[in-house]
């Protein structure tokens, strides 16, 4: 199987706090891989090791390996900047830059990284907004600021911002946690379209969402990987008692 991300004996510490405890995980390329588990189980931390964003936290320490398409991104010769350009990220709270227009929000990464000549940027912005299913809603107000968009629209704008960089992997940290049900449905619909071309790693605390949208699912509990497999199998026939409790709602 073609792997997008693989972790080998991954440990993460915040100071003395051992948050991820020796996780071995294999995430196949293309499709939606859900990381589910109760709050505080280390899902978001784990996600942030996949693009080395974890290093923004001063106290965080990572041990073990994370392989991105076969290459260990924690080996000393790897520049995290280059890694992050291949790995887009969407956050829990819809966070378009409030001081930039809708257009500039999408164009920012391309402009500041000088990835594209000026005239190509406009095409790419349009492409990304179309991909994120937002183009029709914002095409007449690209120069407006994002403050007037709804939560769901803001989140799709943020997805467009990540897509504009043409990443190979898209990390999503509970992208619908702060979105109303209609917006959530639209974003889940969008995920279905994107998964044909991208590897999506979706962190969610909702087993229902994992069951609805993902192809594979991993269950994380207190920093340990309890179970992983095709979504159907994990939900219909879990091997571990904890997993069964979690998916049936008996575990917070």
């Amino acid at each position: 199987m073609n792997l997008a991300i693989e972790t080998r004996n991954l440990h993460v510490y915040y100071g003395n706090n051992h948050v991820i405890k020796g996780v071995d995980l294999q995430i196949p390329a293309k499709g939606i891989f859900a990381l589910m588990g109760p709050s505080g189980c280390g899902k978001s931390t784990m996600l942030r090791t996949f693009n080395r964003l974890i290093e923004l936290n001063d106290g965080a320490r990572v041990e073990g390996e994370v392989l991105l398409f076969g290459k260990n991104i924690y080996s000393p010769d790897v520049d995290p900047i280059g890694i992050r350009r291949q790995v887009g990220m969407v956050f829990q709270y819809p966070n378009p830059f409030p001081h930039l227009t809708i257009y500039d929000n999408v164009a920012l990464g391309l402009k500041l990284n000088r990835l594209l000549p000026g005239e190509k940027i406009r095409e790419r912005v349009e492409w990304a907004l179309k991909k994120a299913a937002l183009w029709d809603e914002v095409k007449d107000r690209l120069d407006d600021y994002p403050s007037n968009l709804s939560g769901g629209q803001k989140q799709r704008l943020v997805i467009a911002r990540a897509l504009a960089m043409k990443p190979r992997v898209l990390l999503m940290d509970e992208p619908t946690a702060n979105i109303d049900p209609v917006g959530t449905a639209k974003i889940e619909e969008l995920l279905f379209e994107l998964k044909e071309e991208y590897t999506i790693v979706l962190v969610t605390h909702s087993p229902a969402q994992a069951a609805r949208v993902s192809d594979w699912v991993a269950f994380l509990y207190l920093g340990k990987l309890i179970e992983v497999g095709p979504t159907r199998k994990v939900f219909e026939n879990p091997e571990h008692e904890l997993t069964e409790k979690y998916v049936t709602g008996a575990l917070g």
Binding site: L56, D58, R84, F91, P98, L108, G109
Partner: protein
């Protein structure tokens, strides 16, 4: 019954607070009123001559020019330094140097300004053998820098962490994240800090006493020559025994007040518009 007592207590407390608040802001209104009442006739009767003429012509033109020159030059010198220091303190809060920077900025904020003047006199005025605009500029810049740096630092700290994460997740370098994304995001706060710093130094007197020298009979023409300022002129005029000089000092005070309010009021108004 007890309900009435509670009400009376509440009333009494509110009245007390209102009274104390009024006492606290009374001096401000008193200053504005007195300066206007006593300065306005002088400015009006002097007219353009008061604003542009030299001291012997009955005007404070060179002092106004000096204040603008000193404020402008100290901004030119101090603002970039302050901006960078503020960003540094924000970006490296846990490094030893970063922690020291923050502490030292706090001390500099409260540092007696006259000592800054004494310091600059030692390092510039004595070696050069003359008071000068650059000496005045340097002491004002030293006072301006911590203000603006602290404001910059605070403005940056207001930015939620998620924007920092987002910027890095787009594969931007630290420099670009800081200068091209986060600093522009905090631009309003940083700008406010800059203007407050300007308003502060535009009215400073003590640091200029031993550095700027004073120049009131001709307009400033060189940065290595002495220069005047409105605040310095007021200080000198008030010490004179002549009532005419006192009247002139009131007029100069009004001009200084207007310059200060011109910088300060827009800041306060613009602050209300901030939305994140």
């Amino acid at each position: 019954m007890s309900r009435n007592i509670r009400r009376v207590k509440e009333r009494a407390f509110l009245c007390g607070v209102a009274l104390l608040t009024a006492l606290a802001v009374l001096p401000l209104f008193h200053i504005i009123m007195t300066v206007t009442v006593r300065g306005l006739p002088e400015v009006v009767s002097g007219g353009l001559r008061f604003l542009t003429g030299t001291l012997s012509e009955g005007g404070i033109g060179p002092a106004i020019a000096g204040t603008f020159l000193l404020t402008f030059l100290s901004a030119l010198l101090g603002l970039p330094v302050a901006f960078l220091v503020g960003l540094y303190a924000y970006e490296f809060p846990n490094s030893a140097v970063g922690r020291w920077t923050k502490t030292l900025l706090q001390i500099m904020l409260e540092f007696p300004t006259i000592l800054v003047g004494v310091f600059v006199m030692q390092v510039l005025v004595v070696p050069m053998g003359t008071y000068s605009a650059i000496a005045g500029t340097l002491s004002l810049a030293i006072i301006l820098t911590p203000y603006v740096a602290v404001y910059t630092h605070e403005a940056m700290r207001q930015i939620p962490f998620t924007y920092r994460e987002t910027s890095f997740s787009l594969g931007l370098t630290r420099t670009r994240v800081l200068f091209r994304v986060l600093a522009p995001m905090a631009r309003r706060g940083i700008l406010t800090g800059g203007l407050i710093g300007l308003a502060k130094v535009a009215g400073e007197t003590a640091p200029l006493l031993f550095t700027a020298g004073g120049l009131y009979e001709s307009y400033p023409h060189s940065v290595t020559a002495p220069v005047g300022s409105i605040s310095l002129l007021i200080y000198q005029l008030v010490q004179s025994p002549s009532p005419a000089d006192h009247r002139m000092a009131w007029g100069a005070s009004l001009v200084l007040l207007l310059i200060f309010l011109d910088i300060f009021v827009p800041i306060r108004l613009s602050l209300r518009e901030v939305k994140l």
